[in-house]
Symmetry: C2
Subunit: 449 residues, 2 copies
């Protein structure tokens, strides 16, 4: 049996009734957290441009856009996939380095709405979608991540898996769907140099491409049977080394969605461990920016590859600048969505701290990655004091968890433009999703005033 | 200036009036040849499935489908991009190993129709699109080709370039469009093992993805400025080695579209040099299948990577089997579209020849590749005669050219289901395309009876 065939069997075999209670509860939190990011992102320029594109092309009114209106499931996956990634507050799985929500949920939700599937069906599809892409991401981590944006590449499989589950494809069809998801997998990190909008295109397209793969498989369209392990398949073409056992270890026994992490800070996850430590140090030592002589941050390799940028030129780029985020956290004591603004980008106090932040590779931290996304920080004050802190996990990781209340609070913050009634309705709908008869009701809150 | 910026300047600067007469004439032949393949492919199952998908999703009636009806430009690029690749008779550029028509023309034609652009605009856009993707394909050849389907990956840039030209994007916008074309580039060869339908998905998606990149750039959506040469860009991520000079050498001076080759045999281009030799040998020596003791074919590495298959199980796979194609040519004296059927796939005479065909790497042939797609053949007859033949170029290459009449004859063969009036109208329209005021008229023949 090929790896795709094993994943296909898992997808077919997984029923809502088999999901442990904590998996169901956790999946709902993932969907709520997704919605926070999608609503907050819906007004951003890059998302508005994708929305314009979808509205320019048109499509049957099958699914709801978080930007407003209804369109085809493909376009809805595209727009909602862009919207939920732009504020950089969406969830992340550290073993696979994947933000699964922004790819899996838009595709699953669009198809569930279109087909009038139940809340239980949606939960099952999302749990399955996360599982598939987490496993694939783990199999190619960390080497794949140097060039490729795992969320986009591996996420495409997750979208296909979730949609395949909702379409009730059989095992053979799912093998084709996964094959054609993998052969569409794309998304290079090169955009990060420019802080370009491509990151939202990646998640948008991953959601849409996986969905297209499964819709095609439903019609009999065939794909490669060994897209993962084949000689010219995904593993060999797109990673230096890979571990096939990650695909099947515990498959159908442990649902990996519960390994997912949630983000509290509005920056790239790789900045979070250091930002957590800075916030803690500021609080414990009542640090003021003027107290600082030097801040040394030791991180793993990806921190350096992705976030070593001492001079971000856009708000977006600032979220990917370790030096900026650390300086911001030292000034403000937090790094939430309202803290990243055009004003704060050029704030002289923050800018004056940036040259004092030094980032280097820490070999112990790096060795523990990607299982642990740690950081070591040493702060040297003007009066010669040295404050040393370290962490193995950023806040929001399963080992350092947030609560459902934390996530509802985050939803309230990110959806602040909505009315109280809408916010309550959304929270209520998602947190009792297993009781929702038709996923079309998911968006009912949007029609309230 | 980045490579993308240089390409962008070339795209902006190229005007119809600057195109040499032979480039205009040749471009029209490329479009006619594209239409042959698109019409012949439009009824094939994989294309019908993509057509069903497009019709399921819907879209504004902006552009015409070769399968019938009108839909959004994105869907039209998708369906027409699938249709024109499936019969394996579309054009090929050997330096870049790209079938440009099936990606560039569907995108350009859809946008030209939508925007009522002139035939001259369409010709210019197609010439520019070919040029861009040929250069990128040459830069990464041959190493990229081991894992990646150049037509899909590099073709995405060609689609974006052609559409950018039609949308009259400025240089900055085109850099973004190329960046987001490259970060969507995908298409792995793994499907070939199964003879799966992914190959049509590749061209369909490349056409659509490039188009989306340019439509987004028009709205201000940004992309990586150095998608080609950047540290985490297309070249480094997706090829073992690359040659940047291929992007700029002669850019704007020599239009590379005239290096394009046309296919007469209905199989993978890599089988053509050997098939040409077999047909010649059969004719010159009046060979019968029963005369054959052994056929030895020496080819370049890609012949072995892509077409070494002594036991094809589908008609489609047979087109990618060197052993099958050589045996078919020996039996029939040709290998046109009507020669690849379910019946011929299992023909005992052809099947009995297959084990007599031996394929090995020929180092001289391999060294000359990809500039020359050559072959050496030695036929050993039952009576001990040895017939040796060799070629450096398959028929249809610029060095071994076909005529406009050959391509009109090919159109007549592939569009045989159409009425004589429709065929004449299509040929007339395309061969005088520079006089067509609105590209919407391109499809007028479809409405005739």
């Amino acid at each position: 049996m090929s790896l795709s065939a094993k994943l296909a069997r898992f997808i077919v075999d997984t029923k809502y009734e088999d999901l442990p209670h904590d998996v169901v509860e956790f999946t709902k939190l993932c969907i709520l957290d997704w919605l926070s990011s999608a609503i907050a992102g819906s007004v951003k320029p890059s998302v508005q441009m994708v929305d314009q594109l979808a509205k320019e092309l048109g499509g049957f009114e099958q699914a709801t856009l978080v930007t407003g209106g209804r369109t085809s499931v493909a376009n809805a996956a595209l727009v909602n996939g862009a919207a939920s990634h732009v504020v950089e507050l969406d969830d992340i799985h550290k073993g696979s380095i994947i933000h699964a929500a922004t790819v899996v949920v838009p595709a699953a939700l669009a198809v569930a709405e279109w087909m009038g599937k139940s809340g239980k069906d949606l939960i099952t599809a999302v749990a399955v979608g996360y599982d598939v892409c987490f496993r694939i991401g783990e199999a190619v981590s960390p080497s794949h991540y140097y060039y490729w944006h795992n969320t986009a590449t591996c996420g495409t499989f997750g979208s296909a898996a979730a949609v395949a589950k909702l379409l009730e494809l059989d095992e053979k069809q799912i093998v084709h769907a996964l094959g054609n998801a993998g052969t569409q997998a794309a998304g290079l990190w090169e955009f990060i140099v420019d802080g370009a909008m491509s990151k939202q295109l990646h998640t948008a397209k991953a959601a849409m491409n996986g969905l297209l793969a499964s819709l095609l498989a439903q019609k009999g369209f065939t794909g490669p049977s060994k897209i993962l392990e084949g000689d010219r398949g995904f593993f060999k073409a797109m990673s230096e080394s890979y571990d096939e056992t990650r695909i099947t270890n515990g498959l159908g026994e442990r649902f990996k969605i519960t390994e997912n992490s949630f983000k509290i800070h509005a920056s790239c996850r790789h900045t979070h461990p250091a930002v957590d430590l800075i916030i803690r140090a500021k609080k414990e030592h009542s640090l003021q920016p003027s107290d600082i002589r030097k801040i040394h941050v030791g991180g793993y390799q990806s921190v350096i590859n992705i976030t070593d940028n001492p001079n971000p030129q856009t708000v977006y780029a600032a979220k990917f600048s370790l030096q900026y985020c650390v300086s911001l956290a030292l000034v403000k004591g937090k790094a939430g969505l309202p803290d990243f603004t055009e004003e704060s980008l050029w704030d002289p106090e923050i800018r004056s701290l940036i040259p004092k932040v030094e980032l280097t590779l820490d070999s112990a931290v790096n060795d523990a990655y990607p299982e642990k996304w740690g950081s070591v920080v040493e702060i040297e004050t003007q009066d010669g004091k040295r404050i040393q802190l370290s962490t193995e996990y950023p806040k929001g990781d399963p080992e350092h968890p947030v609560t459902a209340d934390d996530l509802v609070a985050k939803f309230r913050e990110l959806a602040a433009e909505l009315s109280e009634e809408q916010i309550n309705r959304y929270v209520e709908t998602v947190l009792s999703l297993e009781k929702v008869e038709s996923a079309a009701d998911f968006w009912k809150a949007a029609t309230l005033v």
